[in-house]
Subunit: 155 residues, 2 copies
């Protein structure tokens, strides 16, 4: 191999690695954006229900049932793709996910299951009446908070 061909081969390998890293980074960025979008949709629907619970939005059984049904349907989506390695805070732009999220698998799964239970109960209650909606909101807020406190860095 001549010096020139070595240089070309090295440059080509470098370009390939950079391209590979860019693809990997773009996949990580897409995952971070997707999980934020998912949380945004929880927030949008919870905003409607919270507004009704606080009396800022008039209670409407159909609308409440739809918002709570949306949350339960979102919670049932397959979300494994949201959390690739390399997407913790400091590794991926805009990420506030703490590294413990990737090491405390059992606790993360348990918190996820508690959240799904709470939103399933919310979906069953929200369209009944305002008191039922209010009663089902607390456990959902606790489930959200429980995971955020353990696995999301403060802003």
């Amino acid at each position: 191999m001549t010096r020139k061909s070595r240089l070309i081969a090295t440059a080509a390998l470098g370009a390939l690695c950079l391209a590979g890293a860019a693809v990997a980074q773009s996949a990580v960025d897409a995952a971070v954006k997707a999980r934020k979008a998912h949380m945004q949709l929880y927030a949008f629907n919870l905003g409607v229900l919270g507004g009704m619970a606080k009396g800022e939005i008039e209670y409407d059984a159909e609308r409440a049932g739809q918002a709570a049904g949306n949350i339960a349907a979102l919670a049932s989506l397959s979300q494994a793709g949201y959390w690739p390695e390399g997407s913790a805070q400091g590794e991926a732009e805009g990420s506030r996910a703490l590294p413990a999220l990737w090491t405390n698998g059992d606790d993360v799964m348990a918190k996820g299951a508690a959240f799904r239970d709470a939103v399933t109960a919310l979906a069953a209650a929200a369209g009944t009446d305002l008191a039922s909606l209010r009663g089902a909101m607390g456990p959902v807020g606790q489930a959200c908070g429980s995971c955020h406190e353990s696995y999301r860095a403060p802003e």
Copy 2:
């Protein structure tokens, strides 16, 4: 009413109107963000399936089925809250929704139904094999494009 009390009343009314407008604007902004988040989740899941269809991501029946199932579940969410009056392009920041979206109700509903049919078929096909996935992607792309061409302004 003295001149001073009239001034105070006018100022208070002005503040109230501004506050009301701010609340309304923030509801519109929340709706625009939510519909963009919803589209983002379609894109994330379609990115996985498109990558497999093009051979850039290795076909994995389980992962394909989950991504397509996610899209079908998202399509079944209640989305009425995404499109409040005052959220067309030029009315709400970041909106590219054309005003015709609010006036062509029958066509919008028909396009929505065609999209749901296409993603239901995709969800049934994606986990079977790569050829089935590829075959079901075309109608989904057409359904996306059909609505975007009619109701979304170019960037």
